[in-house]
Homo-oligomer: 150 residues x 2
């Protein structure tokens, strides 16, 4: 089918739509900074990035996820600025939502219980959980006309 | 069905399996560093991360993608260390592969043609493309026993 010249290839979604799509999904990818100046082991500027699949929940436009102890959380302590992406398909158009924000490890049981994150499904079941809250500084959403069906 | 105590919740995939899964997919998410010390506009340590959905191809364990001009590529010039994640479902188990590597914008038409990236599908069709090659420094793959069907 020929492409319609009036249909934009990329549509920018509203903040409202973006939050709606984000909250309707539960699998995202968290991008974090690693290494660099904050790393005591090394003075070189070895800053880099890492990326992790996570299951999350959204409550009142705040994002929560849980994770097993490890490098992911240690890096969040040093580099709390994160980006979270999720995407999906809607009426043969793919959408993608990206949240930028600040990650904080939850410390109080009440806060963890109130967040609803305890009910979160996870792809990597384990007994010992840490709970993290991401407060968004921005959210952007885009919808793409794909050149193939998906 | 009760979980088998002998089945690990998370299985580490071999490098071979990880490359196979990566090459068999074409939609990934690219995590990049943004801002920070390399940014002339600002002396604060405003380093952060951003994340973009991309369509990619793999040829001889090198990753290629194309993108419209913009902030993504400008940041790659300053911060070439990237992480690329892709995931999928295989026999009711989710897998995720993460490549860490260095991104270089391709300059020669011959190199671009040889890479096969010209045949790449894209979610955001536009006329003006830039072509980027990611040389992997590491690849890791994991497979998760999901707590739900997906």
């Amino acid at each position: 089918m020929p492409e319609s010249p009036t249909e934009p290839a990329v549509a920018v979604l509203s903040e409202e739509e973006s939050w709606h799509l984000l909250a309707g999904a539960d699998l995202g990818r968290l991008a974090v900074s690693i290494g660099g100046a904050g790393d005591d082991r090394d003075d070189r500027d070895d800053r880099g990035v890492d990326i992790f699949p996570i299951n999350y929940v959204v409550a009142d436009r705040v994002i929560f996820f849980r994770t097993a102890p490890g490098s992911k959380l240690m890096d969040l302590t040093k580099h709390p600025i994160v980006a979270l992406e999720t995407d999906g398909t809607h009426h043969r158009r793919r959408w993608s939502v990206v949240v930028k924000g600040t990650a904080v490890r939850l410390g109080l049981d009440q806060e963890i219980e109130a967040s609803g994150v305890l009910f979160l499904h996870s792809q990597a079941p384990t007994e010992k959980w840490n709970y993290v809250r991401v407060t968004a500084s921005s959210i952007t959403g885009r919808e793409f006309r794909s050149s193939r069906q998906s």
